[in-house]
Amino acid sequence: MQRNYLAIDLRGYPSDLFEAVCEVVPAEDFPLSKRGITGVEVFTSSQLRNVPKGVDLIFARGGTVQRNRKFLDSKRINVLSCPYPFDSVQARCAAENKIALELCFREVMNAQAYLRAKVLASFQKTVNLARKYHAPLVITSGSSSDDEVKSPRQLVAFGKVLGLDYSEAKASIYTIPRRVLEGFE
C-alpha cells in the first residue's frame, strides 16, 4: 500500500501533506502576504501589466472564451484557472505556450446540484481536450484554512472522477506542478 504521495498544491493552504504549497492572493495583496511560494491572480489582461515583482506564479481567472484566448495568447501567465467555456483552439494554444489548466476542487465543493453538474461537465470537457492536445493539467485543492486541506489521495480521486488515468492524475498533482514552478525548463 502506498501511504504517502509526493504532491505539490499550486493553490492551497500550507500543510505537511504536501512537498510545496503555493498560496494565491489577489495582485493588490501580494506584498503583504509573501511567505513561501506565492502566486497572484489576475482577472483582466490589463492587470498583467501591473504584476508585482517577485511573484512565483501568475494565475489568470478565465470565464469567457474571449478572456481565455487573451490570457492564453499573452504567454505571461503560468496557470489558467476556471478554464471554461473551453474549446480545441484554446487547448492547442495552452499546449503551445505551456500554460497549465487548473482543475480546482473548491469549485466543485462550493457548487451544488445543477451548478455542480455544470462545473463537473466543464471540467470533464477540459480534461478530454487537454488529453487530446497534450495541454498541461494541474489539480489544486483551493483550500483557504487548515480544516479544508485535502490529502493528495483525495486530489488523485478527483482527477480520476473527471476522467484522468491514475498515472495522469498523479502527474497532475506532482510532476506537472513542479514543471510549472520550474518554468517548463
Partner: protein, 105 residues
C-alpha cells in the same frame, strides 16, 4: 454461503474529521450517505457497496467495492457540514484490510 473466492473485493478507507466540532457516529453516517446520494444518485450509491464500519476519536473507516474507491473518496471530500455545523473530512489511507489501515493510523 458464498465462497471466499466469489466474494466481492473490498477496500477500506480511513478518514479523519477536521475542525473543532465533535459528532456522534449516527450523524457522521447520515452525512456520508447524504453526500453519496447527492453526488452519485440512488443508483450510483447502490453500486458502491458503501458501509461505515467504525467511528470514534474523530477517525473512522468506511468500506466499498474496488470499482468505486475514487467515487467514495470524492463523496467524503464533498462533506461540508454535519448537523448545520462546519465539518470537513480528510482521507488518510486506503487499504485492502482493516489491519493495514490501523498500521497507518
Amino acid at each position: 454461503m458464498i465462497k471466499k473466492t466469489q466474494r466481492e473485493k473490498r477496500r477500506y478507507i480511513l478518514f479523519e474529521l477536521t475542525g473543532e466540532e465533535t459528532f456522534k457516529r449516527e450523524e457522521i453516517v447520515t452525512a456520508i450517505w447524504n453526500s453519496c446520494l447527492e453526488f452519485l444518485g440512488e443508483l450510483g450509491a447502490s453500486r458502491t457497496s458503501l458501509w461505515v464500519h467504525e467511528y470514534g476519536n474523530r477517525k473512522g473507516i468506511v468500506s466499498c467495492n474496488t470499482r468505486s474507491v475514487d467515487e467514495i473518496i470524492m463523496c467524503l471530500s464533498l462533506v461540508r457540514e454535519i448537523e448545520n455545523k462546519s465539518a470537513h473530512i480528510r482521507v488518510n489511507g486506503v487499504s485492502g484490510t482493516i489491519r493495514g489501515l490501523k498500521m497507518v493510523s
